[in-house]
């Protein structure tokens, strides 16, 4: 059964839960990364940035973060979603869809008309999710190279 879910702004008290919900990597660097994210998006209330959590009862079961980015390589302002997670126990219940819809609304209110994200091509779960929500390969191509030897 689909649980009753509320989408709200993240609070500093969500820190430990979010850290546990972040499956992107369990390296020692992750807490420092998340402290930075909470500093930027929660404690300072950054304009154009949104850090939302999905909650059922008193339990946080998902999160999504996005912000308005503008003029990187000439790109007009767009809404970047750069983090998303849903507890494995609550997947395929529409939680990610609810969070994406809410952050899309907020980004739209902030003045952008395009949503953009970047996902590891091996991460089929997340890629399939975004595709199911209508996202397609965009006009910008991500490029990279190792720079240990220049």
């Amino acid at each position: 059964m689909t649980p009753e879910v509320t989408i709200r702004n993240a609070l500093m008290s969500d820190f430990d839960t979010i850290l546990n919900l972040d499956f992107a990597g369990a390296t020692t660097d992750r807490p420092a990364y998340w402290r930075g994210i909470f500093d930027r998006f929660v404690s300072t209330g950054r304009t154009g940035g949104f850090f939302l959590v999905a909650e059922t009862g008193a339990e946080v079961i998902g999160f999504i973060i996005g912000e308005v980015r503008a003029w990187e390589f000439g790109s007009p302002p767009c809404g970047w979603v750069f983090a998303l997670g849903v507890s494995p126990n609550f997947r395929e219940l529409g939680i990610g869809q609810r969070m994406l819809k809410e952050i899309s609304l907020r980004l739209k209110q902030a003045g952008v008309t395009t949503l953009r994200t970047m996902v590891d091509r091996e991460d089929k779960l997340t890629l399939s999710f975004f595709r199911s929500q209508g996202l397609r390969t965009g006009r910008y191509i991500e490029l990279e190279k190792p720079i240990d030897v220049i």
């Binding site: 089929k124 399939s128 199911s132």
Partner: protein, 144 residues
């Protein structure tokens, strides 16, 4: 990228059947709708039955029915029943080692393209493709 006819016909058939898993369609129904060769489609349908993506229903009013999982089966799952999606790059008979780096570079570039193609097709489920097609049809209808 150019898909082989068999892959394309399989995608038409699977998407058509998956759009309503309760419905049975004959090979003629599908071939007529997409204007494709029934002879070629019949062979494709046999492969799809063997792979358990569709089911053959015998008897009067028989035909084919979708038997897969619509939100788990990707376009790549269907295509790979018929082809490997690897770019064909004939390796030349090099006289010496001079051309090796160029050949390897071209192979590396085609691998990059193949990887991207696979990454796209492997993350579009039948469900996603059908929903996008339905949205596209609604938009087209509202524009006319």
């Amino acid at each position: 990228m150019k898909l082989q006819k068999a892959s394309l016909f399989a995608l038409y058939a699977v998407l058509e059947l998956a759009s309503d898993p309760e419905r049975q369609l004959s090979a003629t129904d599908i071939a007529d709708k997409y204007g494709i060769s029934i002879h070629h489609l019949a062979k494709v349908l046999c492969t799809l039955v063997r792979s358990k993506l569709i089911q053959a229903v015998r008897g009067a009013g028989g035909g084919y029915r979708f038997a897969g999982v619509v939100n788990r089966t990707t376009l790549l799952d269907v295509i790979e029943l018929f082809e490997s999606l690897e770019s064909e790059l004939d390796t030349p008979q090099l006289k010496g080692r001079d051309g090796e780096a160029v050949v390897e570079e071209l192979q590396s570039i085609t691998r990059e393209i193949d990887d991207l193609t696979r990454a796209v097709l492997d993350t579009v489920t039948l469900d996603t493709a059908l929903k996008s097609a339905s949205l596209r049809a609604r938009l087209a209808a509202s524009a006319t």
